[in-house]
Symmetry: C2
DNA sequence: TGTACATCAGTGAACGCGCGTTCACTGATGTAC
DNA sequence: TGTACATCAGTGAACGCGCGTTCACTGATGTAC
């Protein structure tokens, strides 16, 4: 048996991670298999011994994001403790953070390529669904029933986070994008019952202070 | 002067509309200029006398969606009266409607290609921004101040509508997609103060009845 | 009304390019002796 | 410990294809007379 046991799996992981980075940054069609393989320090010829096709690879990219312990410290400087009772607000803050906004390379794939998935096959959509359901479940935990069943609110909150990030990234005006992320964050936190008062001691909202700081 | 005055503009409009249909259905990279021109009953050679490049065309597609009186009766069977005081809830219901979900061809471009725009140039992003701002403005009008400034709520509501539709289309399970659209609709209406009680006379929520009907 | 003509909207062949995919091969690896 | 070897991970040339873009041309159109 040439090559150690874990060798193949390790190489496959390298390819998937390279693909994730490149797809997130440039989209599905603008990344070639040669580029992906080069990102894993390989040449393009070996690709088809690991995957059946380029689209199959993207399905694995989605699946891997959920399986990996990536959620935790995915975006530099943003910590999420999945065991904490506070996961809900932590995830919302992390998802709509400036770090996630800027770090497209390590972006959540739901925010990076949703329109590609909409035009893809069953298995890719199912992988997307799994990631989305995981996010809904996390948001549901610890949320307060707030007029509507918690599952309903959690679903909408997840859509709000994804939508907020997608739209913020598609906008030219940076200040408006920041404002939008902040609006979504405020509303998302409120929906789960995690933000009862938006005023701080000095009478200015956290939002107003943050925007003031952003405007220099 | 050969050809009547409006001729050129009319042909350009045909190309843009054909492009809108095709881009919405298949994405930017999977549609060729030849296909777009064929959709306007033309051949590919004439394209560059109307547009500088393929990506320039998409910018015009975005701009045209906003300028056109398309909003009004964009999705069959869904009516939106922009003059009405009730625009807010009307737009939310239309945007998250089953018709909009299914009619990808005539979809709002924000829901169809947001991730492409995120990787595009300034002018495309600015066109996207204009469409988004228009939606926010409509949602702000007639909304009730609900704990947060109306502009903040309207921005989040718009992101929720776009995100809800984007995610619903990227999910494989049709029933889950329907549930998600409904969750987003309920929450969006509530955010603007357009849904105070979710219970109807018989004690079942509109939502529960609709889901029951959908499940046959 | 009819005809000759200048304009320019639209045509289609051609270009160069990069991609997804295939496949015969190479050479690094762990094993058997 | 050292060597011969079978395996298979990875290579890179080659393929066919479709695309974005260019450009010399055609022919439909409205106008001038």
């Amino acid at each position: 048996m040439p090559y150690a046991d874990g060798h193949r799996a390790e190489t496959k992981g390298k390819i998937v991670r390279s693909a994730r980075r490149l797809f997130n940054q440039h989209g599905f069609d603008n990344v070639s298999i040669a580029q992906i393989m080069a990102g894993a320090s390989l040449t393009h010829g070996g690709f088809y011994s690991y995957f059946n096709s380029k689209s199959d690879l993207y399905t694995e990219v989605l699946g891997c994001f959920f399986t990996d312990p990536n959620w935790k410290n995915c975006w530099k400087g943003v910590e999420v403790d999945l065991a904490s009772a506070d996961v809900g607000p932590q995830v919302i803050r992390a998802y709509l953070s400036r770090q996630h906004f800027e770090d497209v390379e390590n972006s959540c794939p739901m925010a990076a390529l949703p329109s590609y998935v909409a035009r893809s096959g069953k298995s890719t959509k199912r992988a997307f669904e799994t990631v989305f359901n995981a996010m809904v479940k996390v948001l549901e935990r610890g949320s307060v029933e707030n007029g509507a069943p918690r599952r309903i609110t959690a679903q909408a909150t997840a859509a709000l986070c994804v939508g907020g990030m997608v739209v913020a990234r598609a906008i030219e005006d940076r200040a408006l994008a920041d404002e939008l992320r902040d609006s979504c964050m405020t509303v998302a936190l409120k929906l789960g019952g995690w933000l009862t008062s938006s005023k701080s001691k000095n009478g200015k909202s956290r939002r107003a202070r943050r925007l003031g700081a952003a405007a220099r």
